[in-house]
């Protein structure tokens, strides 16, 4: 028997709202399966289960805000036997989002103490965190009122958090019946997913149908303002980048007049929704350069770890003024149209605050583009633990030398920020040259 707990999706996350169950009691679940949707400060996140088993009981109603570590569901784990449950049988939520804050070295924020608190050893603090207990919830029996492991387990048992070893059956105050979830047609679910609509917000008397979702206006839903949390996450991550990463930069300006002409023709026969934006050219060129120079496509974890595929991070400004950098996994497998479709979906969901856990994990290289806002060039800060970031400046007509003559051409300046621990300028220059070659040879994109 195991417990599926409210996961911590970032060091600044103390609590989360269970938005939706994707499973019902009796359902078999497989490791990695999305079983619930949780709303955090940054986004609604699909949460995956870490074990294979059968859902025994759902303990929390959708719409409930609960502390991190609160048991959300009871899961009968296959092969775990029927022996008395203990703390080790807790089903850890899958590592969902190694979110930006989580990767920052800042300590986990403790709740503001109202009285001096005893010192907590990290394993004890971790255990309490797992059970959603605060220091004030546990009476210490050790010397000087020190909290021991036993105290935490006892308090967790008392508070109904989780069964301790002595108890034969978990005694968890739970809703008597599984939450009544509105029935949803597959089309409605698909539409809602496409549009980033929370199905719980769609009011109907009967099953939620596609028409209900279509007629649902986003204005009706209360927008979650995540700007403060995003600012904090960006601050922590960028501080870490500035502290740890010795950046160097290589810059070049490319004449993309012919490439844009090629793209015009590429788009001419297509409906607006199927057209490819110039921004996608930069993504594709970055993917090709990352494949050509694998020293720039990976992460620094005391030493350089190359990435097998190109998991392309894309910096997206949200409507509330924040920044998220979701990734496109295995971007090397997507052509221009595929990248465009993926990017459209990703940006739409990022702006609506509806990303999947896996998308918030760091990619292997990131592109940041300010092309729409007009600055000539952008010196970006690398997204740890990556080792390179491609900054794309504004696309505009500029003086440029062609065949020894000064001409007006449409150009773009690309800046590669790179980690000097992982590579030297020579490698950065090779990467930039590969990127420029792709950008000026669109037929190879």
């Amino acid at each position: 028997m195991g417990m599926f707990l409210m996961p911590s999706l970032g060091a600044d996350m103390d609590e989360g709202t269970l938005l939706e169950w994707m499973v019902a009691p009796g359902d078999e679940v497989k490791k990695g399966q999305v079983v619930a949707v949780v709303d955090t400060a940054k986004s609604a996140i699909d949460v995956e289960v870490f074990e294979t088993g059968v859902v025994a009981e759902l303990l929390i109603e959708p719409g409930t805000l609960v502390p991190v570590g609160t048991p959300l569901a009871r899961i009968e784990v296959q092969g775990a036997g029927k022996s008395a449950p203990d703390a080790a049988s807790v089903v850890e939520p899958a590592r969902v989002a190694e979110s930006v804050v989580e990767s920052a070295p800042e300590p986990v924020a403790e709740p503001a103490p109202s009285a001096p608190l005893p010192h907590l050893a990290p394993p004890i603090r971790h255990l309490m965190h797992q059970f959603g207990l605060k220091p004030g919830d546990v009476r210490g029996s050790g010397p000087d009122g020190q909290i021991t492991r036993k105290d935490v387990l006892a308090a967790a048992g008392e508070s109904g958090g989780i069964a301790v070893a002595a108890a034969p059956v978990p005694t968890i105050p739970a809703p008597p019946a599984p939450p009544s979830r509105p029935r949803v047609t597959p089309r409605a679910r698909r539409l809602a997913q496409q549009r980033g609509i929370d199905l719980n917000a769609v009011q109907t008397s009967g099953p939620v149908t596609g028409a209900d979702v279509e007629s649902f206006t986003p204005k009706a839903k209360t927008p979650v303002d995540r700007s403060a949390a995003m600012r904090k996450a960006t601050a922590a991550l960028m501080s870490r980048a500035a502290r740890e990463i010795p950046h160097y930069y290589v810059v070049n300006t490319f004449d993309i007049t012919a490439t844009l002409e090629w793209l015009r023709e590429f788009n001419a026969g297509r409906k607006p929704r199927d057209r490819v934006l110039p921004a996608v050219l930069f993504l594709r060129a970055t993917v090709l350069a990352a494949q050509a120079v694998p020293e720039m496509n990976g992460t620094w974890e005391d030493e350089y770890v190359p990435s097998a595929g190109v998991d392309l991070g894309v910096a997206v400004a949200t409507r509330t003024g924040g920044l998220v950098t979701p990734r496109i996994v295995a971007a090397q497998d997507l052509d221009l149209s595929g990248l465009m479709a993926h990017l459209t979906d990703l940006v739409k969901r990022a702006k609506a605050g509806r990303l999947k856990g896996g998308e918030l994990q760091p990619g292997s290289i990131t592109v940041s583009s300010l092309a729409d806002n007009g600055p000539d060039l952008l010196y970006g800060v690398i997204y740890p633990p990556q080792v390179a970031l491609v900054g794309v400046g504004g696309v505009a007509p500029r003086p440029f030398v062609v065949d020894g003559e000064l001409a007006v051409r449409t150009t773009v300046t690309v800046t590669v920020s790179a980690d000097h621990r992982a590579t030297d300028g020579r490698t950065g220059a090779r990467f930039l040259a590969a990127l420029g070659k792709a950008l000026t040879h669109p037929e190879e994109l």
């Binding site: 986003p218 204005k219 927008p223 015009r264 788009n267 001419a268 409906k271 607006p272 929704r273 057209r275 934006l277 110039p278 921004a279 400004a317 409507r319 990017l343 459209t344 940006v347 739409k348 092309a371 729409d372």
Partner: protein, 82 residues
């Protein structure tokens, strides 16, 4: 299609892309790309919305004509009656 219908069509397409814009008080002569902070992807989604509502192809050459609400209304009226 008259002006009122065209305005409705344009504002609906805009609201789909940028729900935070108050279309009641929005200056219809403001550049959507500069003023409303629609990025290229938002603008493409808005153009797609207009195009699909009109059941009409909007070529890239016409994008500038959709840059303000008023110019877009004129464009829609012209194309719908063509």
């Amino acid at each position: 299609m008259n002006d009122t219908q065209a305005r409705e069509l344009v504002l609906t397409a805009l609201a789909d892309v940028a729900p935070e814009i108050d279309t009641g008080t929005f200056d219809p002569d403001t550049s959507l790309r500069d003023g409303a902070e629609l990025d290229s992807m938002d603008f493409l989604a808005y153009v797609s919305g207009v195009s699909e509502a009109l059941a009409l192809d909007v070529p890239e050459d016409d994008y500038d004509r959709l840059d303000t609400v008023n110019s877009a209304i004129a464009y829609v009226v012209e194309k719908a009656s063509a």
